[in-house]
């Protein structure tokens, strides 16, 4: 069969991927720059295509709690929003992590704090990778750098979320959400039957038959020692995720003297900067973290032995740079360059930053 290629916005690709991956539900609330997700879903009428439930909730708070209800039934459920809306969802995300439920959340980041701007930013890195809501928990965070990855990460995200019974976040931004690129569309996967669901998720609250004990989905344990044991169980899970699920891309790192560390759209901007730097004879490579949690620390630690310095490029005032510094462990200089508030750094600015902060510094 000839592969199906489409020109799609990142937000549309996420929506189509949700349908194609056999998702059971999407609950969301409109917010720029990601409203195309629910608009696309509503126009596609997935309840007719696959039986998927799509509902516009009364708030982001309600939407994430609908996700909790769906996920607690073992259903494949997804929501999406942009920064202020993701802040509203944090309560629910914490409960979902605490109840060990699988789900997928897409954040099409815009500038903050507060209402901020509707233009792209990457200022939600800390919130996404260090917990976000209250309590000790982590999300698996995937950072797409193309519309194709927006599409592909939906299925990967669902798989990871069910494998580890943990919420997964796709951390995109206004650029990836709004731009159109070529997308190879995968085949339509069947939604799981109730029998398949029960087999995959024996913990699901789908009604208690006489043959098993009741299933309870909760994040509450009033006995401190048991809650502590649960917290340590989560730590063990995160350690396993760190061991097995790190993803990154190395671009021209083999002969590189300088490394730009950038994820998502910043990685794309940095690729252009890398071409400009190489044209000037400055051997530059890029480490593009694809998972932000787990973070690709080891590759950076190892590269530090043979490169001269690292520049992180983020559309923030410097968030991921802290993880890069932790990874490099003072072996080599690590500096940050970023534009914020919806301003996008130009490739030329990135070139200047590397020349001044790392080579000149």
């Amino acid at each position: 069969m000839e592969k199906e290629l489409r020109l799609m916005k990142g937000n549309e690709a996420v929506a189509e991927a949700a349908i194609r991956s056999g998702a059971d539900a999407y609950f969301g609330y409109p917010i720029t720059p990601q409203s195309e997700v629910i608009e696309y879903l509503m126009a596609q009428e997935p309840h007719k295509r696959t039986g998927m439930v799509v509902l516009q909730a009364e708030s982001e708070v309600a939407a994430i709690n609908m996700i909790y209800g769906a996920a607690a039934c073992g259903k494949m459920a997804m929501t999406s929003s942009s920064s202020p809306g993701i802040s509203l969802k944090q309560e629910g995300i914490s409960y979902i992590a605490g109840a060990e439920l699988p789900c997928l959340i897409m954040n099409c980041v815009r500038g903050g704090p507060g209402l901020g701007t509707i233009q792209p930013a990457q200022s939600d890195y800390f919130q996404s990778t260090k917990g976000g809501g209250h309590g000790d928990y982590r999300l698996v965070v995937l950072a797409p750098a193309s519309v194709q990855e927006m599409y592909d990460f939906v299925e990967i995200g669902f798989d990871l979320s069910f494998k580890y019974r943990n919420p997964v976040m796709i951390l995109a931004d206004g650029i990836i959400g709004q731009m159109m690129e070529k997308v190879e569309i995968g085949p339509q996967k069947e939604r799981r039957t109730m029998e398949q669901l029960i087999k995959q998720c024996p913990w699901a609250t789908v009604g208690k038959p006489a043959t098993r004990e009741r299933n309870i989905i909760t994040s509450l344990d009033l006995v401190a020692s048991r809650q502590e044991a649960f917290n340590l169980k989560l730590v063990k899970k995160y350690e396993e995720i760190k061991e097995k699920e790190v993803r990154f891309e190395l671009i021209n790192c083999d002969d590189a003297e300088y490394i730009i560390v950038a994820y998502g759209s910043s990685a794309r901007l940095s690729m252009k900067a890398m071409d400009l730097l190489r044209a000037k004879g400055i051997k530059t490579g890029i480490v593009r973290p694809i998972t932000l949690f787990p973070f690709p620390s080891k590759v950076l630690f190892d590269l530090a032995d043979r490169v001269k310095g690292f520049l992180t490029v983020e559309m923030s005032t410097g968030q991921m740079v802290e993880d890069v510094r932790l990874a490099v462990q003072f072996k080599k200089p690590v500096e940050h360059y970023g534009r914020v508030g919806g301003v996008i750094p130009s490739p030329e600015e990135i070139v200047n930053a590397l020349e001044q902060k790392i080579i000149g510094g």
Binding site: V61, M66, G69, K208
Partner: protein
């Protein structure tokens, strides 16, 4: 005549009451005299009588009944404070053939969860909402609730609820009855045998209605909180009859989608 032993008395034919099999053997954590235990029992009995234990998913709130899943032998989810109707919306829409209910207190349903309550009711989700209103926050230690009566003391209004300062008590049940998405709205109590029988009938109706797919069935149970009200159990019930019922009158408010005219 031989002496009658306890063994002679405990016989199937002598039974006047039996614990529903939908209740677990766990000891309930509620204060003696609290209405929650009775309300739980009625839900369990209705589910047993309808033979829908394997098809029912319940949602617990935050509040005294946060641990309800310990007492009902059902698949249950524990929701964040006020969000139970959002969970129930998703459960019912993804499994329309199941029976889905929420069990919520006044702080949960009428304060922090107002938006979720109103919108689930307005969308006409085919779920049952059991709303236990005792006019106070029980679990956190007797703070003012949205339903606390005028002049009624609570730990955050120790001199009584001052309407000018703290606003009016909220009649959530009358409010949701106005919405097109509610099919059955009633207010009951569980403080006397006759009221328990009426409340059970209402809960049964609220579960039966899910088969009709006509919208939300909403059962308020006006209840007591003798610990929070700082009254002995019997006195608490008397206080409830004298003070709560005039403001929260018992009876059906909406039946088969039509407001009841009195």
């Amino acid at each position: 005549m031989a002496e009658i032993t306890i063994k002679d008395i405990i016989k199937e034919e002598n039974l006047v009451y039996k614990k529903s099999k939908v209740l677990t053997n766990n000891t309930m954590s509620y204060c003696p005299g609290c209405g929650h235990g009775t309300a739980h029992r009625l839900i369990a009995e209705v589910i047993e009588e309808m033979d829908i234990q394997s098809q029912t998913v319940g949602v617990c709130p935050v509040g005294c009944s946060v641990l309800m899943y310990n007492f009902l032998d059902l698949d249950m989810q524990q929701a964040a404070h006020g969000r139970a109707p959002a969970l129930a919306t998703a459960i019912k829409r993804l499994m329309p053939e199941k029976f889905v209910f929420t069990y919520q207190g006044d702080g949960d349903l009428a304060a922090i969860g107002t938006a979720e309550t109103i919108h689930a009711c307005n969308r006409g989700e085919n779920i049952t909402i059991i709303f236990v209103n005792n006019g106070i926050y029980g679990m956190t230690g007797g703070q003012m609730a949205p339903t606390t009566l005028k002049g009624m003391p609570a730990s955050t209004c120790p001199y009584g609820r001052d309407i000018e300062m703290m606003g009016n008590p909220l009649k959530m049940t009358e409010l949701v009855a106005q919405l097109a998405g509610t099919y059955y709205v009633t207010r009951q109590s569980v403080h006397s045998p006759v009221n328990v029988r009426r409340a059970k009938k209402a809960i049964r109706q609220a579960f039966e209605n899910q088969k009709l797919k006509r919208g939300v069935s909403f059962v308020e149970i006006v209840s007591n909180c003798n610990s929070g009200w700082k009254l002995p159990p019997v006195k608490a019930n008397e206080w409830m009859v004298e003070n709560m019922f005039p403001f929260y009158p018992l009876g059906d408010i909406k039946v088969e989608g039509q407001l009841v005219t009195k």
